[in-house]
Each structure stands twice: as C-alpha cells, then as structure tokens.
Symmetry: D3
C-alpha cells in the first residue's frame, strides 16, 4: 500500500469565493460559510485540475492508495486579521473533514491551525483538540512564520514560546507537519519561503531542548527538510565542536517527507536521516504535477525513483511508503 | 594544481581591535587604521587557528595550492553605520591585498564591498573599480541582504536595483561571489542565513532577465547554491509551465562552489549543474575545520570525496579543481 | 426610462477564486486570468443572488431599464500589493465590459482603477484612458482612501495630488464616481467607511479650488453625499463667515446619487442640492436588497418614494430618473 | 422652558493662556492654574463673542432659558501628553463649575474627561466621580477618538474596553454626551471629524451588547447622530438580514441632540428616532452663530423650525425642548 | 550704556489665546490673527510679570538701557504642524516688531523662524529676508532641534544641511542667536534641553568647516555656550591630537551671551573665549527673575558680578556691555 | 596619597577581538571568552598607550598612587543585543577584577552593568551583587541612557524605574558612578553625550525624591557634574520659586569627580558643591592624555591646578585627593 503523507485539499470554488469575501468585508456580512454541498465537494475531487485529470485520478495514475491531505498552504493567509484567518481555517478544515468522511479509504486529514503572528500557540489548543478528537484529523500543520515574511522576529520553533503546542501534541499523540503559508516579501516566492522556513525550523528544533523536554513529540518536516540534509556536513561540523550528540544523530528526532523531485535529492535526504525517518510524499496534485517533456513523466511521480534505490531493502521501501506513515499518523 | 575558490582571510588581532573601536566611537577618534605591520599580518597566517595549525599549514594539510580569500563574512556588519562599514571593509581588504602581495603563489584576493541596506550599489562602484584595477583583487563578494536580516524588503538580485553593479562587473570582467554577512534575527544564525540568502539569490537571478541583459556576467554562488540544487525538481516543475528555458538550463548561468561537506551533497550539486559550473571550495580554515572522530578526517577535507566520483573524468576533476577557477577569476 | 446610476457587477465565482489565488501567491503562479467564459458570465447574471432572484430579474422587479455597473467596491482591496490590485481590477473590469457588450440595452460600465495608497494618480491614467476609449466604459470609480482605513494621511480630494486625474477626466469628458473600497480598521465597517469618506470627499472638494481649476469636471458622489446634505447647515454657517460662495451653492458643483433608503433622507438630500444634481441610484442587488417585513417592500425599491414627492414636477422626476444620468455619462 | 442641552463654555482668556503655557513647558513651570477670578469668568460671559453679543445675551436672543455647558471640544487636545491633558481638563471644568454656581438658573455643567489614546477609561473614573458628586456636574463628554485622528485603531464604543466607564455612568446615573475633540489629520477638519465619529459611535454601540449589558445607560449623541439617521435605511436593511431587533428599534437606545441647522435635517433626525429620544440643542454660541443674509436669521436659531413641525404635538415639543433634558440630566 | 542682548518678548494674552486656538483648530477657523491692539501690547509691557514689576520696570531696576528681544522660546512649538508654526511665529514677530516701533530707544528685535523638523532651512529664507529688510529685525533665533527632543537625528549645525541659512545670514549681515525651543521628552525640561543643544551646536559648528566656508558668519550662543566653556579642556585635548587650530582658538569664531547667574560661571565663560566674544545678556524678565533671600538680589542681576571682575579693564567691560552687541547686531 | 577615582581599564587586545566576534556571530560560536592570560593582562598595563608610556607609568608620571578603574565606557555598547552586552560586560569586568588582584596597591574596580534600553534595572541586581560580594568591586557604573542616543524616552534617574537599583546599592553600601556609554546619533559624539547625560542625571535626581527615599544612597557624577555646576544659578533661580531646599543645597546630595581640565572649570565645580563632595579624578590614560605644546604639560595632569587653589586648606585638599574617595568607596 502506498501512502502519500503530503497532499493538499482540492476544494470547490465556494471555499475561495468565501475567502475573497471575508478577507474584504472582515465580518461585516457576518461570519458566513463556504456553502458548498457534498456534491460540490465531490465534484471538486473529480474535476480536472493542474495537469489535466482530477485529484482522485491523479492519485491513481501514480499508484497512490491513500493520501493525507491538509489545507493548501499558500492560501492560508496567517498574517491577515486573526478573526478572518480563523474562519477560513475552519471552513477549509470542514472541506477536508468531509472529504475524509466521503472517501475513508483514500484520505486522512491534517488540519490547519488559525495561527497569527505574535499570538501564543495557546490560543489554538482548544481548536486543535476539537479537530483531533471530534473531527477525526490525524495531525496538524505548523507554520513557523505566521507573519508570512513580514517580520524577522518570530520565535524559532526551538523557543519555549511553542511549548504549549508541543505539550498538547504529545497529549493527543498526533504529529505536527511543518509547513509555512504565504510570503509577503517581494524577494522570494512562498514556495521558496517554504524551503527556507523548513531549514530554520529544523535547525532551531535540533539545537534546542525540545526533544529532551518532549521525547514523544512527533514532527514531520516538509520537502525533505528544507536545505538541511543537503548542508548536513556544515551543521555536523559545528556540532562536533560542542557538547551533546552530533547533528546527524539529532536529525533523527524528526521525520521528513520525500517531497523532492530528483533522484539525487531523494538520495541526499534519505541516506543520512535513515529509512525509519522518511515518509513518502508527493504533494500531488501540486507544484510537481507537470510532465517533463524530456522524460514524459510527471515531475511528482517519484515512487519509481525510490523503488530504484538499490541500497534500500523491500522492508525499507515498505517503511517509507507505508509503515512510517501508519506509525506517525496512527493509521 | 588545486585552487580553493572560497577562503576567508585570517587577519591579525589589530583588525578586530580596530573594528571594536570604530563600531563604538563612530568616528569620534577619527577614521584611524588597523595598524598591523607586515610582520603582524604574516604572523596571523602562521599562528594556530581553529583546528590547531596555522592557516598556511591547513592549506598544505589538505593539498590546496592556491586559495582565493575574501573578508570573513560574519564580521562585515553591513547593517551598521555606513561610514563605519566603509572603514572596516577598506581595512579588511587592505589586509587581504597585503597577504596576496606577500604570498603571490598562494593567495588571490576577493574584496568586500561597503554595502548598506537601502543604498544603491552605484555608491560602491568607484571603490570596486579601485580594488580591481589598483589593488589587484580578482572579484568581489556580493551580499544580497545588507540589512543582515533586519528587514524583508531588500530587492532580490534579479531586480534592476542591482544593474549598475552588474554593468561594472562586466566592464571589469570580474565575478561577484554571493555571500551574505551577519544575521541580526534571533531565529536563525548567520550560517543558516547564508544558505537561505543563496537560495533566494539563485532563484531571483534565474527568474529574471539579468543574464539576458548581461550575458557576460560571472556570478559564483557560495555553499553549493544554497538549497536550490537539492530542490531542483521543484523549480524545474514550475519552469515547465512557463515559457523560456527550463530551470536546470538556467542554472547553468551561474557558477557554484563546492563548499558542502558530504558526499551526497557534493553529488547532488555537481551532477545537475554540470562540471563546467563547479569550482572547488573548502572555506578552510572555517566552519568545517574540525576532525570527525568517526573518520578522523577534517570535515572540510572534501577533495577526496570529489576525486572518488567515478562519473567524473580526470579532465572533469581538473576543471573543478583548477580550470574553472582560472577562467572565472582570470588567474 | 429608468436609469440606475449606481449598481455593482454580479460576477461569476471564477473572479473571486482568481482573487483568492493572486492575493496569496502574489504572482508566483504568474498573472493568470479569471477564466470565466461568456456562459459563466451570463449565468452569474441569471442566477439567484441576495434576495432570491437574479440580478437581471431584480432590475425588472423594480422597473429599472438600464443600470450603470462598476466593480463591487468592498472587494477591491486597494491596500494590497499594487501588482495584485492591478490584476484584480483589470479582471473585474473585463467582466463588466463583457456584460455591457452582452446586454447593451441594460448595462453601461464604470471601471475600477488600480489605486494604491501613496501612489500618484498619474500612474493610473493610461489605464483609465484605455478603459474609456477602447473598452467602452463611461466613467470610473474614485476611492478617496486607497489605504482602506489603515492610515489617516491620504491627501483630501481637494489636494493638488489628484489634479492629474481631474485633468484626464476633463479631457476624456467622463465622470468620476466617488466610492471607497474596504476598511481595515476594526471600529467601523466598510459600509460606514463609505459614508464617512464621502463626507470627507465632498467637503475637501468644495472647500478647494478644484472646480475653479476644472470647471468641466464631473464628480458623482455615492450614497447621497455621505453626511453632508444632512449637515448642510453646519457647513453653510462656516461658509457665511468666509469670502466666496456659500456652501449650498458650492454643493451644486457635484452630482449625488439617491442611494438612500428612506423618504426623509431622499428629501433631505434632493431638496437642497437641486433636481439637476440628483441621479437615481439603488445599488440593487446590494445592501438594500432585503424585504422589510413591515411593508413587504424591498428596502432598495426607492423609485416610488421619489415619485411620491409632490414638490417635484414630472420633468424633475424625469431628470432624476433619466436625463441627468444621460448627461453625466453621455448615454 | 427651553433647555439647550448642547452648549460649550465661554471661558476667560486666562484659560487659553494657561493652555498655551502647559502644552509648551509640560510641567517645567509646575502645574499652575488658570488664575482667572470670578470677575474674569463673569466678564467672559458678558463680553461679545462670535456673532457680536455676549454668551448670555445670545441665549436670550433665541429664547434659551437654560443651557448645559461643557468644555469647548476642539480645544481639549486629548492626544497631547496625558499629564497636560489632565491639567487642562481640570482647569476647564473648574471654569464651568464656577459658571454654574454663579448662574444656577441658566447653566448646568457637563464635564470633560482627561482621556488619552490607548489608556483604559478606568483611569478617569475617580475623577468622573468627583466631578459628579462634589462639583455638581450632570454628565460628561465622551470622546470616541482620543487619538484625535492620528490612529485608526481605537476600540469602537461597543467594545468591552469601555465597559468600566459605562458601569460607573450607570452607578452615578448620569449620561455620557458623545463628542470627539480635535483632529490632527489634514484631510478633514475637527468639525467633520465630529460627525464621522458620531456615526461610528452610534453604529458601534447599536451593533454591540452595550445596552443589553447596561440597560440603564444613558448616551446622548451630538449633532443629530452624525450621519446615521440620514442613512437609516442602509443600516435597517443590514439589520433585517440578521437576528435581533431592527436597527431603527435599536436606535431608540440612544438620545440625540438637535444640533442640525436645516429644517430637512431636523425632520430627518427626529422623525425616525422618536420624540422621546430628541433633546433640543443649539451649540450657541458656536459654529452656527452667524446670520444668514438671505433670511436674516441666525443659523443656530432652530427653535422655530421645530415649533413649525405640524406632526409634533405641544407635548411632543415640550418633551424635545425641556422634558427629555430634565429626565436625561435629572434637572 | 547697557545693552542686554538676550531678552524675550512679554506679549499680551491675545497671542497665547491665538496659539491655543490654532494649535487645536489647525486652520479650520482660518488663519486668523492675535488681534491685540497697540494698547494691549503696551499694557503687556507695563503690567506686572514674574517677579512683581513690569517688563519695562524690570529693565530699569537693573540698569538695562536697551534690550534685544525675541520670541519666548519654550512657546515656539517647532515640532507642531508646520502651517501652525508659521502662523504663530509670524504673529509673535508681529508683537515684537510693534514693541520695537513703540519703544525705539529700548528695544531691538530678533525674529523667530518657522522651523520644522526635517524641513530644509531654505524654506524660511524668504521670510527671514522680509523680517530683516522690511520689519527691522536685527537677527534671528536659530533652533538646532526643531524636533523638540522627539528625535535624535537632526543634522548638527556643522552639517551642510544648514548652509543655505548661513549664506543668507552672511548676505543680510545679521547674526543667528542659537536657542532651542520646547522639549517633548519626559526626562529633561526645555530649560536643560537649551543647555544641551547649545553644547551640541558649539561642538558641531567648531568641528566643521562652517567658519572656513562662511568667514563672515555671526553666531551668538545662548547661556554662555551651554557646557562647552566649562569643559573646554576636554575638547582642547582632543583638538591637540588632530590637525588644525586648537579648540580654544576655534571657540573664538562664536559669540557668547552672559546668561549665567553665578560669578564662577561668568568667569569660567568669559575668561577663555575672550572679552571681544562676550555679550552681556540677562534674559530678564525670565527664569532668573527671582530674588535670592540670602542676598536679597535678583538672580538675573549679573551686571555687578561682571563689573567686579578685576581682570577686566573699563574698555573690556564696555565691550561686553555695549560695544560687542552694537557690532554684532549693527545697532 | 593620591586616589584617582575615575580611570578606565587598559585591556589586552583579546577583549576587543572577543567583542568584534560576539557582536557579529551573536552567539552562533557559543558564548566564548576573551582568552587573555594573566601575562596578556599584565602586558596591556605595561605597554605604551595613548600618550606614549604605559598605563602604570602614566599614573606614576602624575603622582597617582591608586586608581579606581571601570570599563572603558564608549566600548560598552548597551544598545546592542542584551545577551551580547552581558557577555562583554562580564568579560570586561573579569579583566578589571584580575588587574585589581594583580596590583592590589594600585587598583580598585568599579564594575560595568549589562544594562539594556527598556529593561528594568532589576535584571542586573543579582549580577551586581556577585560583582561586589564575590569579585571585590567597590562600586558600579550607571548609564542613564542605555539606548545610546537612539531614543529620547528613557526614564530619568529620578524616576521610580530605577528604585530597585538604588535599594540594592544602599543594601550593598556601594556607590553608583554615573557614566553613559556610546552615542549612536550623528549630531554629537559619545564624549559630548557623556556631558549632556550627566546634566540630565543631576537635574533628574535632584528634582526627585530619590535622596529622600534613599538617604544613604551614594552617587558619583562624572566629569564635574556635566553642565550643572556651570549653570547652577539657572537651577537655583527655579528652585527659589518652589518649596523645598534650594538647588545648591540639593546638589550636596551627590558627589562629583574633578575630571575637568581647566583651572576655571575646577574652580567653578568645586566651589559651590563643597570640598566634601569632590573626588579627584583624571581619567588618565584617556581623552586628556595629550601634552599641551604651549605648557608642555599633560592636559589631564590637574593635580597641580587643585593644589594651587589658595581657598583650599591642606585638609581640604587631602579630602579631595584621598579621604572622600576612601569614604565613598570604603577603601
């Protein structure tokens, strides 16, 4: 069985019409709702997107059996008015929860959180608890920069600022999936901001006491851990000068998804962090859902690349494709 | 012959005593000078640093014949008072120029520039010209974020803001070596900020018209191009949706140094960008100058890792170790 | 014939999905387009909105023959990134232009402008000219506060800051329709911000030299001139202390729409400004499209209220309902 | 008997000399006092102001028997240094209290409060209590924008921020009279800012729980309620879509003064809010104290306009001119 | 003959009533005027102030024959709205000019300038020229900190920012009298801010090229040169390390008034700067106009202290009391 | 015996190399240490500085037997990152403590404090206690402006903000020596900022309740009390208008060092404050360590100037040179 641990919801238009309204009227028309019916939601999953076929078809095309879906991050607008963020996150999670209910063999849900810059994560805990306990979500997204690149002073994930969230995650025994949202700076796109924030998150967490203080905390880092596996040697060198475990050992406190679209990168990520720390992910349909005219293959069709690694046993591959996700998300 | 294209100056204490003064008196004691003699400068290169031996010995230990040295970036303090920045850059470059003169077979110099946030690069052009034409430098450092992580609105390197500098670099036929300086945000260190800024720089340059407008511009990116070779597939996918050459082709407009300290990373970088775009670099003595107790080898001793790549011919290796640097820096 | 001079476009969902995307990806997916077909656009006008029936039906229900439509103001997000504002304004105007083309007997278009706080109106002039000359628009919206209530230092409309726009409007012989957009302050809604900004606009214009310097300028003020006709006595008193014409005379330099939903207000507006300065407007479908359970009439069905004024002759009424709009918009 | 519920103090020059000093020396000369004697204070009321005659004469000229006087709002400078604001408010209230004592048949006092932007109203409660209990004031002014138009983020009057004040007003059984002070933005004058703030205040209060939580709270809105009675239909329409009483009903939670200077406006205000919610006010001597050359009447001589309304009974008129003020201010 | 070079105007109350109004209405009532008659102005000079007697009497009491009067600095409010500053400065200068005209044997006028923080002194030149050429002023005040202690980045008086003013002063052949205005910081009073700003002004001017570039420029420093004569040795020492004349020589480029109220201070000031650089000043009536109960003498009655210096000849004393002022102000 | 109460440490280069590093890496290399050995520290005191000879020789040259040394203030960088400030202060104090230990007959130490703008002095109390009780310091420096001239809103030393520090100083029975650090404004140097801040400190303290609330508090003001003894008459006059002791009496609550380099200034300081309030200080080697070519004497060789005052008895002189320091610092 192939579980893709990193997918984003394909929502009906109504969700985005709703977003366009609330971001502008800011509550003047009331809170409102997206208004999509189950039919609308189903249709969204069965209509062509990105590369031509539907979300559900795209999973089949590459052999994905189950996908863990979360809000589409660039849409989450965490730096907007907190009230509006909360509404939009709730409505997005509603779509996800309904899709999971409709397609219980195909989907599991990771919820978004109504994060706001400068606001303690304590504020989101009751909502997180509700998502997990009542709505059936199996984890949450965690944006290390809810300022969306408008400030440089968000506390790093290793800071005690985030401890209330870690405590609750341990209590609920669900993972956080690190994924930033939009980026309001002109000099980089949200997509590159994802990568940079993942790097910051990994280093901040691993150079802190978080895993000493929360030994059961599960954190999954998107996109192969940002730049860190690639620059492992650099951080390893620094760690050799200081007391405590070397950086490559510490890296094994985290999980990494394989949302990387070249063989070299998949190798560069999975080799040092270890098979038991990698979860297959494709983000399909998403940025990689385009056919490379040279190979006539989808860029995000990376299963074969992993299958082809001769240094991985069958059990290793099963761990990456299925077992690790089952363990982390308790599926 | 082995040329290390990425080294930083080992300066005598006087330079940093000078820095500590000017950053505090801000000119109240006059501009002053570092005051180090040729003897002091020589001694600095021959006294133990970092991993135990001297800078000159450390080069020999790993078989480096020539090193291209530039200011030690984290010390450059571009976000300080512009006058003070200018003085410190001038004094640092003075040390470098004198080391190159003393050890003409061992060193070549890349100068720092007195960059300041919000100030047009036009301001540094006369000084750059002097460094190249009179003082014998063979290139310059270029910091994409002189704000040192205090703001998020510096124009990306693809912006026309930087064109006056590119024009001058073409006219002088010397390369810019991309390397940010300090980082005043708490959530990441300067070392990780280097990586993130390199990623931003690569994407900003390659998604712009810079190389169309300056086809002879030479830009060398530090640390294996930040995260971009690792995430090549992600940017490739986006490029396949838009007109123009694919991202992997555009990547060949830049040069990359091999300041990466693992085999996987060196492979992940050099494979896609191509042999003619890689320049050997070690940053030794520097962050990687520490012995791994498991292997009993220096982390920054990466020559052997490259030598061991069986997919590289002897000519390829010579290109990486020597020829490319000769061409880019006109040595 | 009844011309409603103040209506807003009923656009297909695609426009708002497009908005939700660009406000978040900020160009990372390219500029894009709303993607709605003529069928989608037609369907939007023929599907139920607000009070139950379709836009086109709602006009018929109250006897409106022709409506002048403009972008839905609260959606215009002038305080967002200028590039994104421009794209959204262009796409919105595209929908309007196509509706006017499809229903030439029913609609005329007033275009939105890509205004941004702190940016000179000079920047929008080429686009305005294209809208009028090529795309058939008969006027433009003018937002006196593109900061959307995030700052208090926008120059008033009487300031020379706005002169380039006034010059172009005179040259093109089209009116500006004053209408602010969103409101990002918590203490008031956009709807009340409309009113307050209209008051500021009227006073700023009438206490300036604008109509001395641009005697042919046509300016239509939304919602019965904000609070000013109601507080006419207050401003009249001040004007009697200073040289120049009295305020009530100066008020006749402007045009006012009758988007007021009570008899008393319609009287209070139209009486002092004069019949030749009033244009019938209903904003239907819009905020007033709700049935009052006490009267069982639409709140925005105000034609009868005006018809019932015994102090108006038939010619007066025809002026308000048709002739003035024909003259101002050259229909 | 005619009671004018909205008048402002005519103070001796010493008060303003005092203000000019403290705003500049900021306490360096000590707190000081205005220094005016009872003679000075009396003289101020008996010397020509504005339209030619004295304050006391002006009341007689239009038949006002009693006037409720408060600080002259545009002078209150709430956005200045809090210490200086407090001193000036205290000195102004001192003048008022002494005038009330000298002319007990003619004046009643409404005190100013030393409000400061961003400071909780809790700070002013002891002083308010002293004014009411010891100094004989019958109400207080309430400025919804002590920032004087320098910021856009003051909490609206419906916000719990203001609850401590409402609690104290109920306990003391005195009304708040809503009236903003100066305006430091360039785009509008303080006089128009009054109107806009009154509109914001009315909507914020009526769309909140304030009158549910404080059913005995008495709030008098200046200048006929800003723009709201004029735009009643707009707010009524919105209210018909939401649960709870319609807006026109909610409007009856407030009191409105009749400081409007045209027949149409007086009609437009008093008709919908109801006779029992209107208090006669003229602000004389003030902005309206100028003779209209066309009618040869004072602009602020509005008693006759109200007397002429044929839809009002004698009892209605007595309510507006006398009874309502007696009830609200417990005279 | 005794000339007191440093006195401030005693203005009628109307000036300050005017100030209190314009600072609050900001032009909403028009520009207006102070409205004081010649009688009012005369009365102000003949009514008791400060220490009990009138301004004119106070001069006689200490034997002052002529006084050079300027605006009362702490009232000048340079950090307020520029338009309001300009009006108040003009009105204040009007009072001064009329007093000089009324008492030509007693007074000469030094005008205030409508300075504003961040605004080039070029803006005030036409007004300065008018004051000197048409209104008979013999010099101007110069505030080195029009921000009134709200910012720390005003250019020092040695900066080229001020050159347009120096050029005009030379052309008109009149002196600038350095005197700051208010102080909006809480940690010091305006009176101490005067001193600190004078110190900054003296050092900034003397360590610049101003007197090289404007050899005929006349600058009079208030209050005995701030702290500089007292700390002369400190600055002398620094100057001995650098090229150019020693600091004590450079100090002779400036003039200093003797507004110091102890024998030791008068000695400490006049001794090093030289007799030809000292102008008698008392600021009477002012801060020093109080009787010391121990000596029963006015604190600002300092003439005797100077007379008592045995190291001064009669000619020296005449220079200080009369000749230097005649020369600097061309009386 | 001659005790110089105001000297600054002559530290080895390593301290400033350390500073240059931490200010740039901000902890990325760990906290680190200056690394100087006792030999380095001794050598620093015995190597030529400033005027040519060594620190120890310079004391002998002018006959100083003992000197109280503190951190070199302009280097203290209080406005930098608090963590970095703390490290540098600790390392600097370490050098001082070791010098005192090495030369117990020559030196006593006054420690620096890790002050930061906006941070309560409570934060430094444990460290202060450790310095005094464990490390043998006899007092501390106190910077009234840790913002280093980047803001104007630091609470004055008379404010209760500073009370926790005063309480601890009384408990420990050690003095605070007022001395600001750097100055980041362009318009004045740190040296002049010292003077201005001392003036502000003196006035703020003496016009507050500090010495009423802490009668045993000992405060020594640097550089002869800033400008205040020079302007004593000005402040005396103000005090005569208010209740309480006259300013000259209050001045006797403080101690003043004689770091003034002219006879007139030494006289102007010591005369009014009284012999028992003056402590001999020279700051040698420092700003005054330069030979005046006219006199061939060091500018900071001021002992003879004091010796020459004929109004001082031998006992007076001994008090200034020795006894007062013994008492204040409990030597």
């Amino acid at each position: 069985m192939i579980i893709d641990c990193h997918g984003h919801v394909t929502a009906p238009d109504q969700l985005y019409v709703y977003k366009a309204q609330i971001i502008s009227h800011r509550g003047a028309h009331g809170r409102g709702k997206h208004g999509a019916t189950d039919e609308d939601i189903k249709e969204a999953l069965n209509s062509p997107v990105f590369g031509g076929t539907s979300h559900l078809e795209q999973l089949k095309e590459v052999g994905t059996d189950m996908q863990i879906i979360s809000p589409r991050p660039y849409q989450m607008m965490h730096s907007e008015q907190p009230k509006v963020v909360r509404w939009f996150v709730e409505e997005t999670n509603d779509i996800i929860a309904r899709q999971v209910k409709m397609y219980p063999n195909t989907f599991r849900g990771v919820c978004g959180l109504p994060q706001s810059p400068g606001v303690s994560p304590k504020e989101v805990l009751p909502y997180l608890e509700k998502c997990i306990k009542q709505d059936g979500f199996v984890g949450c997204l965690l944006n290390p920069d809810p300022s969306e690149c408008t400030s440089t002073d968000m506390p790093g994930l290793g800071d005690r600022f985030w401890y209330p969230l870690y405590e609750k995650l341990c209590e609920l025994d669900v993972p956080a999936h690190i994924h930033s949202a939009g980026c309001r700076a002109e000099r980089l796109t949200y997509s590159l901001h994802f990568i940079n924030e993942e790097s910051i998150a990994v280093v901040s967490l691993l150079n802190s006491n978080v895993f000493k203080d929360f030994p059961t905390l599960k954190v999954l880092v998107s996109h192969g851990g940002g730049a860190i596996p690639y620059h492992l040697g650099r951080f390893e060198a620094s760690s050799l000068r200081a007391p405590g475990p070397r950086f490559s050992e510490r890296m094994r406190n985290l999980y990494y998804d394989t949302v990387l679209y070249t063989k070299e990168a998949l190798h560069c990520c999975s080799r040092p962090v270890g098979v038991d720390r990698c979860l297959f992910g494709s983000e399909r349909p998403g940025v990689g859902t385009v056919k490379d005219p040279l190979t006539n293959r989808w860029m995000d069709e990376t299963r074969d690349l992993i299958e082809a690694f001769d240094w991985l046993s069958s059990a290793d591959k099963k761990a990456i494709f299925e077992d690790n996700a089952r363990k982390v998300f308790k599926i």
